[in-house]
C-alpha cells in the first residue's frame, strides 16, 4: 500500500502494525511502581527509627539496602541475567529496607552484609527470582542471623527518651553505661511465671503493663529493632499501603486480632503466664510483622479467605512462641512457617467461581 495524500488526508500504510492478543490497553502500574510505593510507606517507619536510635540507624538502613542491591547485582552477573533490568524493579531495595528495619541499630557491619546475601541469594534468587520465592526474604535473613549471630542480633540500643528519669522504665535500663537495654518482651520472658490465679500473679504482670508504661511503648520508647518500636509510624505506613491497594487488610487485622484474642484468653484464665493483650500488641515485632512482613505480596495467599487463614495461623503461632516458647519473640518464625503453608492455603481457599453451586463437603459441581 503506498501512502495516499489526497485532499490532505493521510491514510495508514499498515507497515508498522503490532499484532497481539486482547486486551490492548493495560494499567500504567508496574512492578517497579509498586515497589516504590512500598518504599514510600516505609519512610515514616525509617524516620521514626532514625529519630529514636540516631544516625547509626540511618547508616544501617542505607548500608543494608546497598548490600541487598549489590547482592542481587552480583547474582545476576554470575548467572548471566540482565543486571540493570533486574535491579530496576526495586524489589532488592525493598528487601533491604525491610531487613534493616528488623535489625537492632547497633549491629556491626558484617551483620547487614551477611544478612543481605542470606535474604537475596538464599531467600529469593535460588528459587528463581522475584515472584518465585515461597519465604519472605527479609525474614529468612533475620532468622538466619538470629540463629547464627545471636549476640549481635539481641544487643538493643537504648532509644531516645530512655535516659529520662521515668521510674517505670527503670528495669529496662539494663546496663550502667547505657549502651544496651532490654526489650519489654525480654523482660516479660524472664519474669517468674506463676500459673495460679493469685493476686500476686496479676499484680506481677499488670505492673509491666501499666497504662503509663504502655503509653511509652506506644510512642516507641523501648528497646527493639529499628522499625518495630514506633507504633504511630507503623500504623501510618500501614495506612499508606492500604491506600495504594498494596496489601490485603485482612492480614494485619486478623494477625493482630488473633494475638490479642489468644493472649487475652490466656491472660484472663492464667494471669501469671503472660501479660495482658495490649502489652503484646505494643511490644515486640508484632505490628511490624503484621503490617509489613506478613503482607508481602509474593508470600501471601491470593484470596481473601486464604489471607484470613494465613493471618490466624501466624497469630496463633506467635502467641504460642511468646507464651510458652524459648524465644521471647515469635513473629518471624510464625510468618515463615505459614509462608510454607501458603501454596496449600491457595489450593484450598479458592473463591467460588461464577455459576457454580457448592455442594456439601466442599464438592464443586455445576
Amino acid at each position: 500500500m503506498s501512502e495516499e495524500v489526497k485532499n490532505d488526508i493521510k491514510l495508514p500504510t499498515g507497515k508498522r502494525l503490532v499484532l497481539s492478543s486482547s486486551p490492548h490497553i493495560s494499567t500504567s502500574e508496574s512492578v517497579r511502581k509498586i515497589m516504590l510505593k512500598v518504599l514510600l510507606a516505609m519512610v515514616p517507619v525509617c524516620a521514626a527509627g532514625v529519630w529514636f536510635f540516631g544516625l547509626r540507624a540511618l547508616w544501617v538502613i542505607v548500608f543494608t539496602t546497598a548490600c541487598c542491591v549489590g547482592a542481587e547485582a552480583l547474582w545476576c552477573a554470575m548467572t548471566k541475567k540482565p543486571v540493570l533490568a533486574t535491579i530496576r524493579d526495586c524489589s532488592a531495595a525493598v528487601t533491604g529496607v525491610l531487613l534493616a528495619l528488623n535489625l537492632p541499630a547497633g549491629v556491626p557491619f558484617y551483620v547487614p552484609l551477611i544478612g543481605a546475601f542470606l535474604a537475596i541469594w538464599l531467600g529469593k534468587q535460588i528459587f528463581g527470582g522475584l515472584g518465585h520465592n515461597p519465604f519472605n526474604p527479609a525474614l529468612v535473613a533475620r532468622v538466619g542471623l538470629l540463629i547464627a549471630i545471636p549476640a549481635a542480633m539481641t544487643s538493643w540500643t537504648p532509644p531516645r527518651g530512655m535516659d529520662q528519669n521515668y521510674p517505670e522504665l527503670k528495669e529496662f535500663r539494663a546496663s550502667v553505661d547505657a549502651t544496651t537495654c532490654a526489650t519489654p518482651l525480654g523482660v516479660a520472658g524472664q519474669r517468674p511465671k506463676l500459673t495460679d490465679r493469685t493476686t500476686a500473679a496479676r499484680i506481677n504482670f499488670s505492673k509491666l503493663a501499666s497504662g503509663r508504661l504502655l503509653l511509652r511503648f506506644f510512642w516507641g520508647v523501648r528497646g527493639g529493632c529499628i522499625g518495630e518500636t514506633c507504633v504511630p509510624a507503623l500504623l501510618l505506613g500501614g495506612l499508606i499501603l492500604f491506600a495504594f491497594n498494596l496489601i490485603n487488610w485482612r492480614v494485619p487485622l486478623c494477625f493482630a486480632g488473633t494475638v490479642a484474642l489468644f493472649t487475652g484468653i490466656v491472660n484472663i484464665c492464667w494471669p501469671g503466664v503472660t501479660p495482658p493483650p495490649l502489652f503484646h500488641l505494643l511490644t515486640g515485632g508484632l505490628l511490624l510483622g503484621a503490617i509489613f512482613m506478613a503482607t508481602d505480596m509474593v508470600t501471601c495467599p491470593i484470596t481473601g479467605s486464604g489471607c484470613v487463614v494465613f493471618a490466624i495461623g501466624c497469630g496463633i503461632i506467635t502467641s504460642v512462641i511468646r507464651i510458652w516458647g524459648n524465644y521471647p519473640e515469635g513473629v518471624s518464625f510464625s510468618i515463615l512457617f505459614m509462608n510454607a503453608l501458603v501454596p496449600l492455603i491457595d489450593r484450598w481457599c479458592t473463591d467460588r467461581p461464577f455459576g457454580y453451586v457448592r455442594k456439601r463437603k466442599s464438592e464443586v459441581r455445576k
Binding site: 499498515g14 502494525l17 503490532v18 499484532l19 497481539s20 492478543s21
Partner: protein, 285 residues
Amino acid sequence: MMLGAIETGRILMAAALMAGAGVVLGAVIGAIARIFRVEGDSRVDLVTELLPGANCGGCGKAGCRDFAKSVVSGENPPGKCPVSTREQVGAIALALGVEVGEVAHKKAVVRCSGTLFTSDRVAYYNGIHKCSSAMLVGGGPKVCRYGCLGMGDCARKCPFGAIEIINNLAVVHEELCVGCGSCAAVCPRGVIAIVPAAAHVHVFCNSPEKGAQKRKVCRSACLGCGKCVRKDPEKFELEAGLARVKYSAPELPTAETVEAVGCPTGALAMTERHRQKASEETNAK
C-alpha cells in the same frame, strides 16, 4: 578405658536386637517378593536393557519397554527402532534368535525456507513466544499462512535436540533426527513432513497458493513453475501451485538433479544447502 561387664552386655544386646530385626524384616520382604511376584517374560527385560532407552516413540510404541514387548511377541522386528545403532539391533536379534528386519528409517524435514529475511511479516508480533499461541492472534505475524513461524515449538519438543531455529526458520539437523514424529505432531502449521531417511532433496515450501501471489511475499517460495516436473517427471510432481518430491519413486533426486533442474527461487534444494541459505542474512533474490 576398659569396658565394664554391664556396658559390654548392653552393646551385645543392642547388636543382637538390630541383627534380629534385620533378619525378620529381610524375611518379610523376601516373603512379600515371593507372594506378590509378577510373572514376566525375562526376555522383555533383556531387550529393554539392550535398547537405547530414549523413549522417543519413533517406533510407534509407547516407550522402549513397550517396544521390547512387541519385539519379543514378534509384532515388530528389532530394526524398527530408529535410534538404535546397527550393533545394538544386531545384539537384540542375536539374543532373541530373530531376523534383524531392515526397516526403512524416516526423518523429519521442515518444508519451508521463509526466514526473517526472505519472507515478509505483516506485523510485529507481541505476545507469547510460541507458535501455537501466535496462531491464536490473527494467524501469526507471517504473511504466508502456510509457512514456518519459527518460534520453536518443534525445537522444544524434539527429544534429540535435532531442530535449530535459524533466522526465525526451523531447520532439522539430519544427522540427529530419528524420525520419531514428535515435531510434526506439535507444529500448528503442518509444515513438517516425515519422509524417508534416504531423501536429501526436498521442495522447501508449503504454500499451495498461486506462484504470483507467493512471489509477492516470499523470495524463497516455490513458484509452481513446473520446471522440475518437466525436467524429471519421475521424481517430481506438481500439486496446485506447489511442487513435491515423489518420495515413493524408485529413485530419489540427488545433487545432480537439483543442478540440472535449476530451480529459479532455490526452493528445491539439498538439505545442506538449504541450511546454509537459511543462515544468510540478506534478501536473496
